[in-house]
């Protein structure tokens, strides 16, 4: 007999050798096995077909800069001097409305004192964000001591926004500035390390000094 059952071998590659009913010579995968695999693969492909685009859609903002640059007018040049900060209210994302209003501190660039932030044209104005570099509470400028103080956990910053005490991990962020038709305009935010070197905008609590900076990657887009 041509297809007489071969010697039983549990480990055999062939269905015939494993004595599976209906197995024929040279068959290694049973029909049942093949159908299982097909069903699983089809289900997996169908799931991925909606899951991956959906996830990409939800995670898009990680890879894409969604906040457009907006230059906001904060007043005429005459309002500001180079010795003390003047508070102004602006909205980082204007579409948010009243809830998103935040204070910024504005002063003229002081040629004698201020360091030119590297890698850019000297900014005509120094605009300090009030978002504390610890966890983002609003800091307040105290003219008498020329310091910024955070109410939440006692972070203290000097006149340049450099850390003088408390938990903040880096100086206060700043904004780009320009002057158009005699009016001061404020643009995007940027971050500074302890040497007052410019970095892409980071979240509060993200280090950009020493070894710590490698734990807080920059956004791919900014």
């Amino acid at each position: 007999m041509a297809d007489s059952p071969k010697k039983y071998d549990k480990e055999s590659r062939y269905t015939e050798g494993r004595w599976i009913a209906g197995g024929f010579e040279g068959e290694t995968v049973t029909r049942r096995r093949l159908m299982e695999g097909t069903a699983l693969a089809a289900g997996g492909i169908a799931t991925m077909a909606f899951l991956l685009p959906g996830l990409g859609f939800a995670l898009g903002p990680l890879f894409e800069d969604t906040i457009p640059t907006v230059w906001q007018d904060v007043g005429p040049e005459g309002d500001f001097n180079d010795l003390s900060y003047v508070p102004r209210v602006m909205n980082i994302a204007p579409e948010i409305g009243d809830a998103g209003k935040t204070t910024i501190y504005v002063r003229k660039f002081n040629d004698g004192q201020d360091k030119v932030i590297d890698g850019q044209d000297p900014q005509p104005y120094v605009v300090i964000s009030t978002r504390c570099a610890h966890l983002g509470c609003p800091v307040r400028y105290i003219q008498a001591s020329q310091k910024f103080v955070c109410p939440c956990h006692g972070g203290v910053y000097g006149f340049q926004g450099d850390v003088e005490g408390g938990p903040p991990v880096r100086p206060l962020d700043r904004f780009y500035t320009r002057v158009t038709n005699g009016r001061v305009e404020v643009g995007d935010r940027f971050s500074l390390n302890s040497e007052l070197e410019r970095f892409a905008p980071r979240d509060p609590s993200n280090h950009i000094d020493g070894l710590w900076q490698y734990l807080y990657p920059s956004r791919p887009t900014t």
Binding site: A58, P61, T66, I67, E95, I96, D98, A99, G100, L215
Partner: protein, 275 residues
Amino acid sequence: MTPPLPKSLRRSPSRPGQDDRNGKNGKNGRNGPATKPTAKEQAVEGTASVVGWLDERTGASPFLRGFLYRKVPKGTNWYYTLGTATMFAFLSQAVTGVFLAMYYEPDATRAYESASRITNEVFLGEFVRGMHKWGSTVMIILIFVHMGRVFFFGAYKYPRELNWVIGVVLLVLTLLMGLTGYLLPFDQRSFWATVVAVNLNSSGPIVGPYLADFLRVGSEFGPTTIARFYSLHMLLVPLLIAALIGAHLYLVAKLGTTAPPWLKAEKKDLLKEEV
């Protein structure tokens, strides 16, 4: 295996001599002539036949009996109701939340107005919003008290470790509900609290900044942030919570509850003489 039905739900054969009009002996039984069933009997019979129809087609009876009439250990007390209380707090949140969603608009320019409209203008709006707001606090208190009960009674021990793990995930999800819901009134407090909360997420090494970008939809709190929080708050997290509550309850019914730790096993109960 399946616990028996309680006595009140079991049908008992009629006593000898008692009038059996439409009972087990049938209409032509020996106990008397067939008479018209009363309205009450018809109602009972009708309900029983509907229940029977469903049971015959689903086989739900053994499952429900095991779930609802399972034995509980001696010493079971009011502390054992805390989990159910938490679940009812969740159900109340779900129901009030669905109704709030009928009036609320998750848009940066409309959110505050629609929320204050619910409070000030919609009929019973203040009450339903109040239930949702205070209910969230109640749920978080209850979940922690329930967790404390399980911890101090030692009810997390073998074989219930998995249920403890599921419970901890439920706790985290409930806190996430609190976090995402806090933004939705969209006043100054909720806005800045959310900014700080997202910054807290950002302080985690390596994944932190990405997590913050995911929550905020970008590097700054923008107009779409509120839609994302709304979607997490009313779709993703509640679905996960509901599914995990199902798993949690299944394990409770499967494994049974524990006796309170102050109760010692009584030996005389273990040796029961058959009479």
